[in-house]
Symmetry: C2
Subunit: 272 residues, 2 copies
């Protein structure tokens, strides 16, 4: 092993692996100088499969590497098998189950987690319905049933409305529509007509002119639509519109959809 | 406090709160008999905000409740403040940082996590491009650039193609298209023509006839489209098509989009 070898990281789960990846990656961001080589192994359902992973990890250790293994496996036999591996094992659920059992005054179920399964069927179905709603109401395509929206994202083209809407729907089950602001909206006084009854549900996005121009250039190089001048005009006009109607807004230039969604939910006081 | 009061649960974060919610909820699924009342408080950026949360938690304790607090805060001053709360504190990052520092032979950065921030800009941009691609290629809308797809989900109407596609794109940055199977596809021999060059990228979905009929009835009550007979015919024909072309498939009836995505990635050997 040379010090240049990236550090092998395993995310192990008896289910989807989402929880192991999420907490594991969050922990790894605390070590920005180290390069990691990640592998997710979901659906580890028996001791044989667990042993195969242990063999892989031990093989890397034998080659001089120092693998890190994040696991959210619940079954005690699988956990016992994984515990024999010679890498650094981070047993994400096991660590806390004792503490929680004590706090809650009851034993844990010890059944492989379905945290990302169907779970509450009603809640799951409402998320799927929210995705459908978001698809139908993307980019002002349909103005029907806008009253059902819990939030309407408003912004000029290419400020991040669509992915943010999708994220709100898919992850949080929020009924989210989005509505594009175009030149004609800035010529007229007031909000675009379809939005007027719903100003309380509107949330604006903006970005930086240079960033917007870059993104639009990828779509239509050399167009007036992508020009810095036009982008600056639209963003200034949009912010004026938001401010004059008391519409909260945020700048998408340096934020991920996850961060925008979290801020939007917080500022609009929407329950996740 | 009566034993009927749901147990208050807080997910605290100096960032989006996604990691705290994900691991916290996974842990709570291990206690299925207990009812929880969840609240996420993201973007706790200073000691004053942390103290306000501590006051809230302590207020609940004073009323006889036993709140559980999951935190992914990184800053040591915020963590110290949260540690003074009288609820059960589960310090999700703090628990492991020492272990990882030792394993990696270096100190952690101690900078509030941006695990769900823009992170690797290139990777983030490719996820956003994947969302755009998925929107354009939903439901066979566009057959352009199908060669760019890493996966093409194939299924009769209402088997879960769209949300699964969106999840693959948004969460994993996978270029995913989807293509609806209709009656004419079952009349003819072989795969629908646009799919033929890409059979290796196809992944089928199926469901149970009764479930499909219920879902379609919500959309078009009393139609032949929603009839049990038609649903059974389409699902049988689809499975025959998958089998005869060696297309892997799964049944979406009892699986979440998260579980389907994890299985699809695993079976298609796609890197997350």
């Amino acid at each position: 092993m040379t010090t240049d070898d990236p550090c092998p990281v395993f995310f192990l789960s008896d289910s989807t692996g989402i929880t192991a990846e999420t907490l594991g990656n969050t922990l790894l961001t605390q070590f920005p100088a180290i390069e990691f080589d990640r592998m997710t192994i979901p659906f580890i359902l028996n001791v044989e499969q667990a042993q195969a992973v242990v063999d892989t990890v031990d093989g890397l250790v034998a080659r001089g590497l120092r693998p890190i293994v994040f696991s959210t496996a619940v079954g005690s036999d699988i956990r016992r098998t994984l515990a024999t591996c010679t890498g650094t094992l981070v047993d994400l659920l096991g660590t806390y189950l004792g503490q929680l059992e004590e706090a809650l005054g009851t034993r844990s179920s010890n059944i492989p987690g379905r945290a990302h399964g169907l779970g509450n069927a009603e809640r799951y179905q409402s998320r799927m319905t929210a995705v459908e709603y978001a698809m139908e109401h993307d980019d002002g395509q349909s103005l029907r049933a806008l009253e059902k929206a819990q939030i309407i994202l408003v912004a000029p083209s290419r400020c991040g409305k669509t992915p943010t809407t999708m994220y709100l729907a898919l992850q949080h089950g929020i009924f989210a529509a989005n509505f594009p602001l175009v030149d004609e909206d800035f010529d007229r006084e007031g909000l675009p007509e379809p939005l007027r009854p719903f100003v309380d549900k509107c949330f604006g996005l903006t970005t930086n002119p240079l960033r917007l121009s870059q993104v639009r250039t990828e779509r239509r190089r050399g167009s007036s639509y992508a020009s810095l001048r036009q982008c600056g005009f639209e963003l200034r006009s949009a912010e004026r519109l938001y401010t004059s109607h008391g519409i909260p807004f945020l700048n998408s230039a340096s934020m991920s959809v996850e961060e925008m969604a979290a801020m939007i939910l917080q500022r609009m006081k929407l329950k996740r």
